[in-house]
Symmetry: C2
Subunit: 156 residues, 2 copies
């Protein structure tokens, strides 16, 4: 068996820690700013989070059995903060339910999540987690620009 | 042996891909903005990168043999863009040289990188990589606020 730098259980714990921090970041936004604050025409933090939410289930289901089925994303609507948090928690539940079902050998298997992109399944998962970290970092600047305090990065 | 979601080699490749993107993000800043742009009193992107650079060697050396020796960080000086890139490349070289020497069993070993924080070595490494992704995401917003185009996130 290959050397292990990270176990599937640790990957899940890592991801869920980030999700908790992202949730606190959403909560730190005032309702009006979540979709209303778009400095220099950048996407709102709410739109970025809708993208993350819309892709979560396809990512974990593709990781499970190769049934990659990414849709259009989903950042072009606007929902309330409460609705966003409900959708975020539903995505969380999909992670918690589906990731532990992924057969251990799947993580190192090379698959093609989108045409033209071949990589081990774990790379697709990490890419997606990193995308969330990236957008959350952007959200931290938005919050500072709005005079709000982001949640502490080191608390997961 | 434990199930493998990620091998040490894949972790190194993952990290190095992020480093390349971070380097391009530094390059995208104009010289004067790297340390001069501090919206609403946030740290400059240059200061964030000096922090990342200063911690890189301590992180990989601690991962190697437990000799954790974090210093003061190092974000309170100001250097030229060329000097920052040289320091960034030196930190890269430390990763490329030291990480492959880390014994495979070290990654899952629980260690204490700082007093009061006990975690597998891989968690410390991922935390540090994530910190870089986080700050780079902040840098993307800085660039947009400055009217500059950040490098594409998906290119590593």
């Amino acid at each position: 068996m290959a050397d292990t730098a990270l176990t599937p259980e640790a990957l899940l714990a890592h991801w869920r820690g980030h999700r908790r921090l992202t949730r606190r970041t959403i909560e730190a936004f005032a309702e009006r700013d979540l979709f209303g604050f778009t400095p220099t025409d950048m996407r709102s933090f709410g739109a970025m989070m809708l993208e993350v939410i819309a892709l979560t289930k396809p990512v974990v289901e593709g990781a499970l059995d190769g049934s990659w089925h990414f849709g259009r994303g989903g950042g072009d609507v606007e929902v309330s903060k409460a609705e966003l948090l409900v959708a975020f928690d539903e995505a969380d539940a999909a992670i918690a339910e589906t990731l532990p079902q992924v057969p251990p050998e799947r993580f190192l298997e090379v698959d093609a999540p989108i045409p033209g992109r071949s990589e081990p399944v774990v790379s697709t998962l990490l890419y997606f987690i990193d995308n969330e970290i990236h957008h959350r970092g952007q959200g931290y600047v938005y919050l500072r620009l709005l005079g709000m305090e982001p949640p502490p990065f080191y608390v997961r």
